[in-house]
């Protein structure tokens, strides 16, 4: 059995030379985000095209792990991966009128190639892949036997985004997964949008630890070409909503435009029903680091930490080589056990290393000094609670696994508490104003999320400092009583919606 001596480490630097990170995340979120992206080397913003960033290893490794988890979950729900071209001929792009209208302002156009000058037809650098994939879907789908067809691809999309860009959160090139499913019936397509939302909960909330509410978006805030849009909104530390994946019920809008028909068992032809789903891993990464970080830096969930364990040898002159050998062997052992481990052999002082790797968000630090070598033990520091424990080598694998799990659960619980503390309900306009000032997501009675509610939404935005109607919680079980009125038009409320400010 391991000795458990728990103590809380102080965060004060003993050595004033050490470069520390200390920014109040909740009250100075914008500064915190900008600084941590730079200091932890998550993105390099110096690439000389606006809105395009470089992902160094620290973010790339984590993003790759996130992709892997997401793709496995999609596979589990019967999807299969495909790879489609990144360019779309203009004629394909223009087939569905709402879609082209929505996306045309955001498209990068390839117009020429090599020395041969202009291309015969302009090519869109895909902003999303409906119009690349569906012409092929119309060839792939012949009969009811080909349905459902559930496919996804992982890759980049490009959007000539007008709003100011921010690393991971909003840019002109982002990294995502897009799922495109086809069904024989509208009911199955509707069920798929619920399944997509379930996948979002399974992965984003339960694995990456980002709490969110799944919304049915108002009709005036739909995807270009969709019948309905459902989207997951989390809350950033500054109290603003951030949209995570959305899933769209496309109905037969695209199948009619792209001629995706199937023959039923009786030999009759029908247009198919479609859905699409778009988790942007780069943005989810941005949300994840924002939600879990603290004032001293990043905290990664154990599963998606680029490095899970850092080993810091504490070298005294006498036992130097013993400590070095022990640390090296420990690293090899843990790597063989499947952990992502880094041994910091640099000539920096231990305190400096501690601060650096805490800022980088490594979940577990192992400190190795003379005593640890003598007793065949390690001193474990965990990033979330900042607690230290001494553990035996013999049971280390299980201890690390269990600490990793506990750390993830702990930061998820903290994130959930923050999220729930920021939910509020307003029964009067005064309450709404107060909650908005306190940066909350507020549930209010509302006239309608159909198009007849759009005027009220515009007025709300104008009068309440940009507050937006995010939609109806898909897990909502409460319905307005006859007496509750829309705050804006005063008509009887048909639903409860959440409002708040968008990131």
């Amino acid at each position: 059995m391991s000795q458990k001596k728990t103590k809380t480490e102080k965060t004060v630097s003993e050595d004033t030379q050490i470069e520390t990170f200390n920014i109040d995340k909740v009250n100075n979120f914008s500064e915190w985000f900008t600084e941590i992206v730079k200091r932890a080397e998550l993105a390099d913003m110096r690439y000389n095209v606006k809105g395009f960033i470089v992902y160094p290893p620290w973010s790339t490794i984590s993003i790759k792990l996130m992709f892997d988890i997401y793709e496995k979950e999609l596979d589990k729900f019967g999807h299969q991966p495909v790879i489609f071209p990144s360019v779309i001929p203009e004629s394909n792009f223009q087939v569905e009128s709402d879609h082209v209208e929505g996306f045309a302002p955001e498209v990068f156009w390839i117009t020429s190639a090599g020395n041969s000058g202009l291309l015969e037809e302009r090519l869109a650098l895909r902003p999303t892949s409906e119009t690349a994939m569906y012409p092929l879907y119309s060839l792939w789908i012949r009969s009811w036997r080909d349905l459902p067809l559930k496919r996804y691809q992982s890759g980049k999309v490009w959007r000539y985004e007008g709003k100011s860009t921010r690393p991971f959160i909003r840019g002109r090139e982002f990294i995502w997964i897009e799922g495109h499913d086809v069904f024989a019936t509208l009911e199955e397509a509707e069920a798929q949008t619920r399944e997509d939302m379930q996948i979002s909960f399974n992965v984003i909330q339960d694995r990456f630890g980002i709490p969110f509410i799944g919304f049915q978006r108002p009709e005036w805030d739909k995807f270009a070409g969709a019948v309905h849009t459902y989207a997951a909104d989390t809350l950033m530390p500054d109290g603003r909503f951030l949209q995570l994946p959305s899933t769209h019920l496309l109905g037969d809008n695209f199948s009619k435009a792209f001629n995706i028909e199937y023959m039923d068992e009786e030999g009759e032809k029908h247009y198919a029903y479609q859905t699409c789903y778009g988790p942007a891993i780069s943005r989810i990464f941005g949300a994840m680091i924002s939600v879990h970080g603290d004032d001293t830096g990043l905290i990664f969930p154990f599963e998606v930490a680029p490095i899970q364990i850092v080993i810091i040898p504490i070298l005294s002159k006498k036992q130097r080589s013993k400590v070095e050998t022990y640390s090296k062997k420990l690293q090899e052992m843990l790597q063989e056990q499947g952990f992502r481990v880094y041994l910091d052999n640099s000539d920096k002082r231990p305190g400096e290393k501690y601060y650096f790797w805490e800022m980088k968000g490594i979940p577990i630090r192992l400190e190795i000094g003379r005593r640890e070598v003598k007793d065949s033990q390690v001193t474990i520091f965990r990033r979330d609670t900042r607690e230290k424990e001494i553990m035996d080598l013999t049971t280390l694998k299980e201890s690390l696994k269990s600490i990793g799990k506990s750390l993830t659960q702990n930061i998820i619980a903290k994130a959930k508490k923050f999220f729930e503390d920021h939910l509020a309900r307003a029964d009067t306009i005064d309450q709404l104003v107060e909650h908005l000032e306190n940066k909350k997501m507020i549930k209010i009675p509302w006239c309608s999320i159909d198009l007849d509610g759009e005027d009220c939404a515009d007025e709300l935005k104008d009068e309440f400092a940009g507050a937006q109607v995010r939609g109806i919680d898909v897990r909502e079980t409460e319905f307005p009583s006859g007496e509750q009125k829309c705050f804006i038009c005063g008509k009887p409320a048909k639903c409860f919606v959440y409002v708040g400010k968008q990131y």
Copy 2:
């Protein structure tokens, strides 16, 4: 212990209705390739942009597995992953003069975006990423402590390829990994090109089973901007060379152009030395299926098979539900054990399923009938030898692992034999002519692979039906005696080179 009743299955269809695949791969390779790509659903060629293809699940899953193996190997050799933008401003692209001259004819240009018309500066859709990455490298590298810097990214590149395109082998969009490394000294950079070649052997030859020779390319056949180019050439079934990854010694050509300097321990500034390495997974996939396939279809190495094991229930009226339940349970058990398994429950007849999945290249088939259920066994068919064995459930996991390993080793051995049978040596022009007719890769004495040998290479190509000088085998241990002459100019040979026709 399992009973081992080995017998060889006949390949003749008992039911003439079954759609079979049967094309002589070696003698009709072009037809074989075109047909298997279509029938096994490896690529859909109907996307309406020339040179751009769609990858359905059957190729995508395998390609993802190949990426995973390749990336892990690069990690093992100290590389770290990054993600760079897919677009390159024209001004970056033009910095290194040889490079821009080499690539300009192949670039797709983005010239406009959204409704705002022309961009201020044209953006190249990257054909390769030197000019995207190196401006950042010049910021990242400050001192000798930052070296070596070893980074790679996985993704797509685009080239406006003039030659006729062929799925996987040559297209205008391909999927690859590119490694870009920086060193303090030329010696370290040279060592890296050897390490890259070793990685190619470890992965492409030992894991994917594609034999090749690593060449130092002649000076007239270098990468645009390189000091030397080294490349792996395999042999396609029709006897033509196919270039697999190349690795380039860039020397300080790019570091001077992009100002990549480091301060040494004495505080003196130096230009760094660079290498780059580009395994195109899409092309390696094309080589892999060509090398291992046989006249009845694909054969995947066990590790990279999209599905490793297919279960075929053989249903009689009496025991239908028992066989179904047993098959379902077997599938679950094998999935839990980590195999990629598919249970073919369709209403096709067993024989039809056999042919279909053999054509698709699944390494192992399990046949489940009444007898198997009764005896708690399975009948195993392996795709390479076409042998059947009966095995007990209790030891099935180990049996399958061992068969998977043996299958991979067997197809690797076959591929090596084919490759080695196609190597030849010519000491006279008559021998050269004969070997060329027999579609061999031929080792001949040669004047020089420096630029002074280029005229001879041109003449060789003209006189011998397109035969090309591929370069010097990097593992070559033989040097010409004073008496051996270049076949073309008659000067004393300085080296042995391989010649052959390019794919």
